[in-house]
Amino acid sequence: MHGFANPARFLRMARWLMPLMLIPGLVLAFGALAWGLFMVPPDRLMGQTVRILFIHVPSAWLGMAGWSTIAIASLTELVWRHPLAGIAARAAAVPGAAFTAICLATGSIWARPTWGTWWVWDGRLTSFLILLFLYFGYIALAGAAQRDAAAGEGASRVTAIFGLVGAVNIPIINRSVVWWNSLHQPPSITAGKSSIDAAFLYPLLIAALGFTLIFGGLVLARMRMLLADIQTEARLRRKAMA
């Protein structure tokens, strides 16, 4: 793992890996959305609105995967002091927040024709909204830590601890539809099992793969951006002191 701790080596790898994730990701994700829009039959209960599944579920998965990335990278930063772990955590925050917002917006649009309301304060929706607020808090904290160079490692550690503590919300989101009564349906895909018909399952899995590749490409691009910012800052500081 520490083989990639060298920023120069990481940048060499990110330069070819980023387009390799972004381009196939965009093709797969938008191809699966077109498949879902034009080729999938309407559902017996949800009618045409079932097509929202192909954007809503991948964005929900990435909202949670984004914070899981932050938590794992924060743990790696705190325990093993991996120099790129903190940058990886910060890089995952904005894409994670964006997909969480897309999930909430598409879910609300889906709720109106199927539940008869835009929003209910149940366990699943409320815990997902809390996830969005956690992202906002994390992004603000990480930005403040970066700006306040004098705070140095201490501020970075506070951000990492926040990323780790916020992970408590992930199992709550996952189990919320089991623990509490909800208009939201229970999990349709669990380890090795699916209650979704193959006509919906295959485009859904391809959409999930495509959006995951996009997410990976975005994290790599943001890591390149953050590393470039750090290098510029360091150079300007050296010049000011000379």
Partner: protein
Amino acid sequence: MHERLDQWQFVMAALAIGVIGTLVLVGWTLWAMKRAEARRDASRNSGQRGT
């Protein structure tokens, strides 16, 4: 009383948010990355000129 809703309007609205949101996110991220790398290269070049 039953409310008759056109389901396609909801489908298109949700897909538009997903697709436009993703494209804006990708475009903005790539632009911010290129700008940060250009700034780093400019600071490196000005540093070399100064020495």
